[in-house]
């Protein structure tokens, strides 16, 4: 038999026709009886194995259910002890002066365990009569029920009033499987002023569960309902959450607890103290008014953030208390994208605010010296190209050196300088100031923005780099975008003469009475070939504020402190060669962004300030700088008040 098929296999390869003939022939040759007999023998062996295996299973069942029945019976009866997980209290969050920013408030809720309710529909209608709630409540209960794990409690009413609780309490016996639970709900007393930095907690969803499972943390969350979703609440989730506890309770045959046998209390999460000053934060928040944008106040020496605002904002309590679909849709669909953290995710063209760094690169590379002068006729042209890059001052600044180029914010100087440096040199220097990289601030919602280079453009658009684009990059336009937090770091590098801090919201952790200060981090410092160049630039920035020609002079006139800074006005849309920009005529979305970066005092600065306002009428000098002025006024007044209190 085997030989026959092998022989056939060989002949099959010769020609197709013979193979077909042979195939037909083979069917007749094939010994059906031998095949059937072989198969029959194997089926018999299988049957024997099946019988033996079932026999083993059955004898094991006999061992469990008859021989050891008694001991298992006892163990089953002992099995009246249930382990109930206890959720730890979430750590609290304070500002730098100990004012509470996130707290836990006790709330009564009405919980239903559908598994233990005999007639759910009837129970719900009767509850509705007693407690008087809308039909929507029942609808959302059914929605929640579908999302919950089976056999678990589902919330019917989130916030019971005292009256509702009392009315239910007297009729509790009519509602098996329904109970009042007291639990703590996260509350943010300052609402929308701090949302993007502080973040919020919300109900654990299937994605969170999967992630917890992957990180092997699901056991610790067995009793927890909410998890940090954004900002500080998310970044420090592990510290804030704490450790689960257990309670052993004896239950009756219906699973009801009779008495508590032992308790292993949960360990509450750690309290966080932030660098934020909530008064300053609220002041900055109000300062932006109805404008969209960001304000940051940071200590350049250690990266401690005093205030960080992103507007528009929203109320984080919506999420903590359970956001409705309509509320969430309103946030998602708003054209002003309130969910975006503009301070860390908003990619703004930095415009003139980065001229100080560009100037430093020029000095460091030796392309210019502190005394190099150029003639600015009001425009710049690449040799042999017709296009004119216009200065914001149509008639030109005349003779300009590096200091006056910063004080008056001359564009032509930087068109020329950028072209001489080339995009890749500019890029390689700028990443050292933190542009195009995440700053490492302690919230997860951060973008790297874009510091363009030849390689970047090739990778992003698969296009070559054009010299004309380098010219625009020189004044912080073209593809160059920065987040406000990057600008804060870039400015801190200047005031620190190279030291580059990592921005940080966390001031300290508190566990019981022990206070652990947060780790202060910094990145590789910028080292210049000639350290005196720092002074050239800082001097120019001080003059921007202190001299009459300076673009920030008007905003800071009469201030009680010294400061330095740089204004910027970023074009959101490019303007044609002969077109004239008129803010009031064009669509609001295409109006300029007003930017300001600054620091104070002028010597040994203790704060840097960044203001970015979107789509304004007016530029950095007239919109952003006055806001920075008001914020710094408030800051120094506050410092003075604190100093007096201490005396």
């Amino acid at each position: 038999m085997q030989k026959v098929s092998i022989g056939l296999g060989a002949s099959r390869r010769t020609t197709l026709i013979t193979a077909n003939k042979m195939k037909k022939k083979r069917v007749t040759i094939r010994d059906h009886h031998a095949e059937a007999a072989l198969f029959g023998r194997r089926v018999f062996v299988s049957l024997v194995v099946v019988v033996i295996a079932l026999g083993i299973l059955l004898s094991n069942m006999y061992r469990l259910q008859v021989v050891n029945h008694h001991s298992f019976q006892t163990r089953s009866n002992d099995n009246r002890i249930k382990v109930v997980p206890l959720a730890p209290n979430r750590g609290l969050i304070y500002d730098r002066h100990g004012r509470i920013l996130a707290e836990n408030r006790p709330v009564l809720s009405l919980e239903v365990t559908p598994e233990k309710v005999t007639d759910l529909a009837d129970t719900l209608t009767r509850l509705q009569q007693v407690l008087e709630f809308d039909d929507e409540v029942i609808q959302s209960f059914h929605d929640n029920r579908r999302r919950e794990r089976r056999f678990s409690q589902v919330t019917l009413l989130d916030h019971l009033t005292e009256e509702q609780a009392a009315r239910f309490a007297v009729r509790q016996h009519d509602f098996p499987g329904v109970s009042i639970e007291a639990r703590l709900v996260r509350h943010y007393p300052y609402g929308d002023a701090l949302t993007h930095a502080l973040g919020y907690v919300a109900k654990i969803n299937p994605n969170d569960l999967n992630k917890l499972r992957e990180e092997n943390k699901q056991a610790n969350y067995a009793a927890t309902r909410v998890i940090g979703k954004l900002g500080i609440e998310r970044y420090y989730e592990e510290l804030l959450h704490g450790t689960i506890g257990f309670e052993q309770v004896e239950v009756d045959i219906h699973g009801r607890a009779i008495r508590t046998l032992s308790v292993q209390p949960p360990i509450p999460g750690q309290d966080l103290h932030l660098e934020i000053d909530i008064e300053l934060q609220q002041f900055a928040y109000d300062l932006l008014g109805n404008d969209r944008g960001s304000i940051i106040l940071m200590d350049p020496r250690d990266g401690a953030i005093r205030a960080i605002v992103s507007k528009p904002s929203y109320d984080p309590n919506w999420f903590a208390q359970g956001i409705t679909h309509a509320q969430y849709q309103s946030l998602l669909n708003s054209p002003h994208s309130p969910l975006l953290n503009r301070s860390t995710q908003g990619g703004y063209p930095p415009a003139s605010t980065v001229k100080p760094q560009v100037a430093l690169v020029g000095l460091d590379e030796g392309v210019i010296t502190p005394t190099t002068r150029i003639w600015d006729p009001g425009w710049f042209q690449i040799e042999g190209v017709n296009h004119r890059y216009r200065d914001w001052l149509a008639w030109g600044h005349g003779w300009v050196d590096v200091t006056s180029s910063l004080v008056e914010s001359c564009d032509t100087f930087y068109y020329d300088l950028a072209l001489k440096l080339g995009i890749d040199t500019l890029h390689d220097h700028m990443v050292r100031y933190g542009f195009g990289e995440r700053t490492g601030i302690d919230i997860n919602e951060e973008a790297a923005a874009v510091m363009p280079s030849r390689g970047w453009k090739r990778a992003r658009f698969n296009q070559p780099w054009y010299a004309g684009e380098t010219v625009s990059v020189g004044i912080g336009q073209s593809y160059w975008t920065t987040t406000p937090i990057q600008l804060a770091v870039g400015t801190a590098v200047l005031t620190n003469r190279g030291h580059r801090p990592v921005p940080r919201l966390l001031h300290a952790l508190q566990e019981g009475d022990i206070i652990l200060p947060a780790v202060v981090e910094s990145r590789e410092p910028v080292v210049l070939n000639n350290a005196e160049h720092w002074d050239v630039i800082l001097d120019a920035l001080n003059r921007t504020v202190s001299t009459v020609k300076g673009t920030a002079h008007r905003a800071f006139r009469g201030a009680s402190y010294t400061s330095g800074g740089k204004t910027g006005t970023a074009q959101v849309r490019s303007i044609g060669q002969e077109e004239k920009y008129n803010a009031e005529e064009i669509d609001e979305r295409y109006r300029d962004n007003a930017m300001y970066v600054g620091y104070a005092p002028a010597t040994d600065p203790e704060v840097v300030v960044v203001v970015a306002v979107e789509n304004t009428i007016g530029g950095g000098g007239s919109v952003a700088a006055p806001m920075a002025r008001k914020l710094l006024d408030f800051y120094f007044a506050q410092e003075q008040a604190h100093a007096q209190v201490e005396q």
Binding site: M1, Q2, S5, I6, G9, R26, R30, E35, A36, L38, F39, G40, R41, R42, V43, S46, L47, V50, A53, L54, I56, L57, L58, N60, M61, Y62, L64, Q65, V66, N68, H69, S71, F72, Q73, R75, S76, N79, R80, K82, V83, E115, R150, F151, N210, R213, E214, V251, I253, G255
Partner: protein, 372 residues
């Protein structure tokens, strides 16, 4: 040949609709056991029980539809189905959606599918087709090729990782080879090779959670609150059932929620607690009846392909029973295989009954040749 005979032989109602009576009888009884036990194990959740009953009904319809396909057509479908399956598995490995830490699902926009389920049928079909083409016993070369054909999907599924399904699929192919009559010497050699492979599996191929399962299986008491909890609770449930059981809906272990996954993989524990050894023997007789009926269909089949496929499908069904009962009663490590046709869940139900559909197609297409 079949046509001339089909006219002469009087067709019964069953025959006409390609239904194997005894098999259907056994399966319907199992379905009733399933509904009763799911009702109890779900904590008397009517919605879940209804869902289970609905799925069973749907799966039975699927089975009867598949039973109408002529076995010749099934044979022709084998390789295309297998190829589609392999492509989909590749898709899962590349773009699959993970669920409970394992990637098994492929989202095709409209529906999510689990290609490994498809392979439970496609693998025995294809190996049987590949072997049957040249008669049995197969040559060494053909057998080697069949083995490679089998390992491709098996390894892909083990990688997802889904050890339970990988074992079921590997067995379905190995059964085809065994039934095709590979020599005992080779069988011994393979057993030795598998023995040698175990350390490799342990140290290099198994995931941490799989290793933990094996360690827990060897000594459940070493982790009584963690991974061992399930198996200890399961044994307590079974053991406390005794000879007569605690009665339907009266199992304290299961009703008091001490037993995790009691309506899915551990449903046998609920059944044993409530119906005792008497019920267990009854269930064994029911499974034994279905398996014997399947083997009879395999022996009666006239074409080698049909014999191999029928034999492999019914023996794989037996492996389900063996592995599931073995694992919940503490004889085998927990690998996540449901109790066939009883556990709550739609996916395995559909695949298993589709397999029985194939068996019925084979059973009802051999009558005319029998007179010969």
């Amino acid at each position: 040949m079949p046509k001339s005979n089909s006219n002469s032989a009087p067709h019964s109602w069953w025959q006409r609709f390609h239904i194997d009576g005894p098999l259907l009888f056994g399966l319907v009884l199992l379905a009733l056991v399933s509904i009763a036990t799911v009702y109890s194990a779900s904590g008397q959740d009517l919605a879940m029980t209804e869902r289970q009953a609905f799925r069973i009904g749907l799966a039975f319809v699927g089975m009867l539809v598949i039973a109408q396909i002529p076995p010749k057509a099934i044979e022709r479908f084998s390789l295309p189905l297998f190829s589609i399956g392999v492509v989909l598995l590749l898709g899962v490995l590349l773009f699959g959606e993970s669920n409970k830490g394992a990637q098994r699902w492929l989202n095709l926009g409209v529906i999510t599918i689990q290609p490994s389920e498809l392979m439970k049928l496609a693998v025995p079909m294809t190996i049987a087709w590949f072997i049957a083409e040249h008669g049995i016993p197969p040559s060494k070369r053909r057998m080697g090729m069949a083995f490679v054909l089998l390992m491709v999907p098996t390894l892909m599924i083990a990688k997802q990782p889904d050890l339970g399904t990988a074992i079921l699929i590997a067995s379905s192919g190995i059964f085809v080879l065994f039934l095709a009559g590979i020599s005992w010497r080779l069988i011994l050699f393979f057993m030795g090779a598998i023995g040698a492979f175990i350390p490799v599996l342990w140290f290099f191929l198994m995931h941490d959670y799989q290793r933990r399962r094996v360690l827990t299986f060897l000594d459940p008491e070493r982790d009584p609150l963690g991974a061992g909890y399930q198996i200890i609770q399961s044994k307590i449930a079974i053991g406390s059932g005794g000879i007569e059981g605690k009665g339907w809906l009266q199992g304290t272990q299961s009703q008091l929620e001490f037993l995790p996954e009691r309506h899915t993989d551990f449903i046998f524990s609920v059944f044993s607690e409530e119906f005792g050894l008497v019920g267990v023997i009854g269930l064994f007789i029911l499974y034994g009846f279905i398996i014997v009926r399947g083997l009879i269909i395999a022996i009666r089949a006239q074409q080698v392909y049909q014999k191999l496929l029928a034999g492999s499908l019914i023996l794989t069904f037996f492996v389900y029973v063996l592995v599931n009962i073995g694992m919940v009663s503490g004889l085998l490590p927990v690998v996540g295989v449901p109790l066939p046709l009883v556990s709550y869940g739609g996916t395995s139900m559909v695949t298993l009954l589709a397999g029985f559909g194939l068996l019925m197609a084979i059973a009802t297409n051999q009558r005319f040749v029998m007179h010969h």
